[in-house]
Symmetry: C2
Subunit: 132 residues, 2 copies
Amino acid sequence: MTTIKANSTIQENKSQAYVTCPVTFVMDKIGGYWKPIILFNLLGGVRRYSELKRAVPTITEKVLIQQLKQLESEGLITRKAKPTVPPHVTYELSKSGKALRPVLYAMAEWAVHNSGKLSKTFSRQMADFPLE
Amino acid sequence: MTTIKANSTIQENKSQAYVTCPVTFVMDKIGGYWKPIILFNLLGGVRRYSELKRAVPTITEKVLIQQLKQLESEGLITRKAKPTVPPHVTYELSKSGKALRPVLYAMAEWAVHNSGKLSKTFSRQMADFPLE
DNA sequence: ACAAGTACTTACCCTATAGTATGTATGACC
DNA sequence: GGTCATACATACTATAGGGTAAGTACTTGT
């Protein structure tokens, strides 16, 4: 599952920047390519694994769980599994995950006003921006 | 200068997600590890290359210019060079770069409230958050 | 008997990003 | 005439993230 090597120079640089820059702290948690997309989808409420897969069709299964595990270990989402067959697993934003709404919203707003030709597409999407 | 290979699968996935997700659009522009940190520093106003270097001491020169070039080509910052010796180069947020303030601010706010022991450090930093 | 669905896991490979180290042009200053 | 400072460039290496492909366990439906 792609274990992270401790004590690499990159990781040490990161942990140093952590302490000094709040923005960096955030980027380290949601900075992966797919993480914001997943979080965005979870803003709409509880989602099954398979629902997320359908909502983000271009992500591969490996990367999807990988990112979900990371988000879970960072405390941004919670996983609930019913021990049935076939399995039934749901993901949900945690308290701090829900607190990211203003961040994602600010991003989306920025995209609407600073994406040239895509602006119209994005502003249409904003109508669907989950309010709670 | 690390040219990006066009037509790789990764790039194609990205360009597809672009069109559907405003959050992804933003992440692609400021999603690099150092970009938000650089932008954060430029929120304070015009900065010389050497000032940025001192402000972000753990970044290497190679990566610093690399990121600056990318931010410039994305239209988030502007570069001005005086043809003197020694050279005098300054960087500044563009209009769309300045528009990122709410995004960075929302991130910093989230960090203050969701970083456990680091919260106090971050809230102290927030006092210095550049207002304009 | 067998295919389908769910939520994964594993093995292997490729690429973008980051780090290390060194080089460059030019004029000012000593 | 050698050093200093500025703002880079370049070559090489390392790592994290992402992609492809295949497999697993168990039950329900045909």
